[in-house]
Symmetry: C2
Subunit: 156 residues, 2 copies
DNA sequence: GCTTGTTAGTTACAAAAACAACTATTACCA
DNA sequence: TGGTAATAGTTGTTTTTGTAACTAACAAGC
């Protein structure tokens, strides 16, 4: 077939959600290999681990609120991470529904390793772009994704 | 808990794959409601439909190569779209392994409706950003995601 | 104190995706 | 030719996710 595009003013290849997905998938897939091959972690597990590594002790709800991950996914990731002894769960003594989550030394070690790997990977991903480009990109993405807003995930 | 971040120079909230994912998920989820509620389409089905709408007749492999979707997902999406009479499959007469896929008039109608909706949605998403911001963002994303390279999906 | 509503987190079931193995056909090449 | 490798596409099975419904605990108003 020829390369003729038979649309009327619409360009899928310039459609933002499409571009976002392609870029996100590309970077996710590459990075996924790292935490999966090295530690057998799932995407959500990695995300929970990173949040705990970054922010220290949090509750499951805190993590979900920050990362906009649904609570059932958090619940399963926490369960799995606890089973591997990467984190410790401590019931709150002011509210018995709540559990505080902290990384164990083993979890910390995994976090540090993956964090360093992540940084190296990001550097590679961004080589060829200027600092201004990168700063601009990140600012726009943060705004599009609502990062930092700490909104709660809408219930099912 | 307090807002103290106890990391050494790493910022998850500025980590590119994280930002990409947050932004992509945000826009995907919002747009998903549209094609799901209106036509009961799955994500991959929508993507296949759009590619056929954009580029006209293609094979399943063409689509997978362009959109970097795995062939099993394409296969099932094509099956489902054909069952709904949104596309027609025609065996190639030069290579009996190959099938040409084209949208039916019904499929075209769905495509046009969703395309217009997509444009409106994108406009809303981008309101508040300057034209220069948008152009810059799209250029960087296209490069990050390798859009336009037409690479084949790595086999399982 | 009771009733009603809300929140934290889990569990069970259904939908979708990932992964692997397969058929059929074509391409390559000695 | 004939044999091996590669390609198009499908199917079956396993994981992972999405969704809903649930338990337990707390909060607020009366």
């Amino acid at each position: 077939m020829t390369e003729t595009v038979k649309t009327e003013g619409f360009d899928l290849l310039g459609f933002l959600p499409y571009l976002l997905n392609q870029a996100a998938e590309e970077s996710s897939l590459t990075f996924q290999k790292l935490y999966k091959d090295r530690y057998g972690l799932l995407r959500t597990e990695w995300r929970v681990l990173f949040h705990l590594g970054m922010f220290g002790e949090m509750t499951a709800t805190d993590i979900g609120s920050r990362a906009k991950i649904h609570k059932t996914k958090i619940s399963r990731a926490v369960h799995s991470l606890a089973k591997r002894r990467y984190l410790k769960r401590t019931p709150s003594d002011t509210d018995r529904r709540v559990e505080w989550l902290v990384l164990t030394p083993a979890g910390e070690a995994v976090y540090r390793d993956l964090r360093d790997t992540a940084q190296a990977y990001e550097a590679k991903l961004l080589q060829g772009f200027s600092d201004a480009d990168v700063a601009h990109l990140k600012r726009v993405l943060a705004r599009l994704g609502g990062v930092g807003e700490s909104n709660h995930v809408t219930e099912a």
